[in-house]
Amino acid sequence: MITQDHTDHTAIEDSAAKEIAGLLDARAQQLSMRTLQTLEQGRSRAVNAHANKTASHQVHADGSLSSWLSWSAHPRAMSVGLLCAALVVGLTLSQQINQHHENSDAFLLGAELPPEAFVDRGFEPWLNAKLELPSSQ
């Protein structure tokens, strides 16, 4: 019963709305000549733009270099491409830094001197002095 009422109500609303829309449609057919001319100009411009775009799509479809360059016309694709490039560069750099750290650690662990010796600033002059002493004698 409630569903029936709801359906009737919707039908009444639809009927009233369509009547109003019909009247609005009638008014839309009574535009001034100036307005119609301007709309026609706009339409012509749009159709020309569409024809140009369609033509350029067909040229690019042959796989020429210009089809690659046409990506510059797609800002979203360009943004995604730049983001990917930045990610790849970042990953490569971080890997290189990690590798450098690993090499340093291996050098420190494999050296005959204790790691503290490399931190001590006076160690190297002391070592040089030690090495020079026997040669000067």
């Binding site: 535009l31 001034s32 709309l39």
Partner: protein, 195 residues
């Protein structure tokens, strides 16, 4: 992919309604013309590879977004014009263009019938302009552009339930306004009785 002829036919079919719809929203004939032309160009430039069946929804979405852009710009412009309004000149009215007042002939013959019909449409147009933006959008898309509830919801970016509510409120409001003027027929009288 739609051909240029299909695009041209589609635009010829929708341009008048789109223009009137925009006038109701922005209440400025010149701005409405600019907005509709902008929307046409955007559709042609950004979606040349879409099939013609998708054009109604795309065009309406572009039109709504272009109107929103206009309102945003208008808000900024109003801020500056109110600041400098005292420097503006008040003299001289807009020149009247005879082409502006030349309407295409109405199909009905009786002058009294034409007048009554014209008055009714004027009332509807005024009432439509006074509706809240979302209600007007929903009404125009659903009943004037004859889109279904799902399409209207997709264009407006809201749920289907919201579209139904906006439409119902819009129809009741319009029926009420017409009733106050003693206009409208049986379905509208029923709706007025409910309101």
């Amino acid at each position: 992919m739609a051909s240029s002829k299909e695009l041209s036919d589609f635009l010829r079919d929708v341009e008048r309604r789109a223009y009137k719809q925009t006038v109701y929203a922005v209440r400025d004939d010149h701005a409405a013309l600019d907005i509709v032309q902008d929307a046409m160009l955007k559709l042609a430039e950004k979606y040349p590879d879409k099939p013609v069946a998708e054009y109604p929804m795309l065009f309406q979405r572009i039109l709504q977004n272009t109107m929103r852009d206009f309102w945003r710009r208008q808000k900024v412009r109003n801020l500056w014009t109110t600041l400098f309004s005292s420097f503006g000149s008040q003299d001289g009215e807009d020149e009247r263009d005879p082409l502006e007042t030349f309407d295409v002939e109405d199909s009905s013959d009786e002058p009294s019938e034409q007048l009554q019909r014209s008055q009714t449409i004027n009332m509807i147009e005024l009432a439509l302009q006074k509706l809240p933006t979302r209600q007007r959008e929903a009404f125009v898309l659903r009943y004037w552009e004859e889109m279904d509830v799902a399409e209207t919801a997709a264009i407006m970016g809201c749920s289907q339930g919201s579209v139904k509510t906006h439409c119902s409120r819009a129809v009741h409001a319009l029926a009420l306004v017409l009733g106050k003027q003693g206009l409208g027929n049986q379905p509208m009288e029923i709706l007025r009785g409910e309101s």
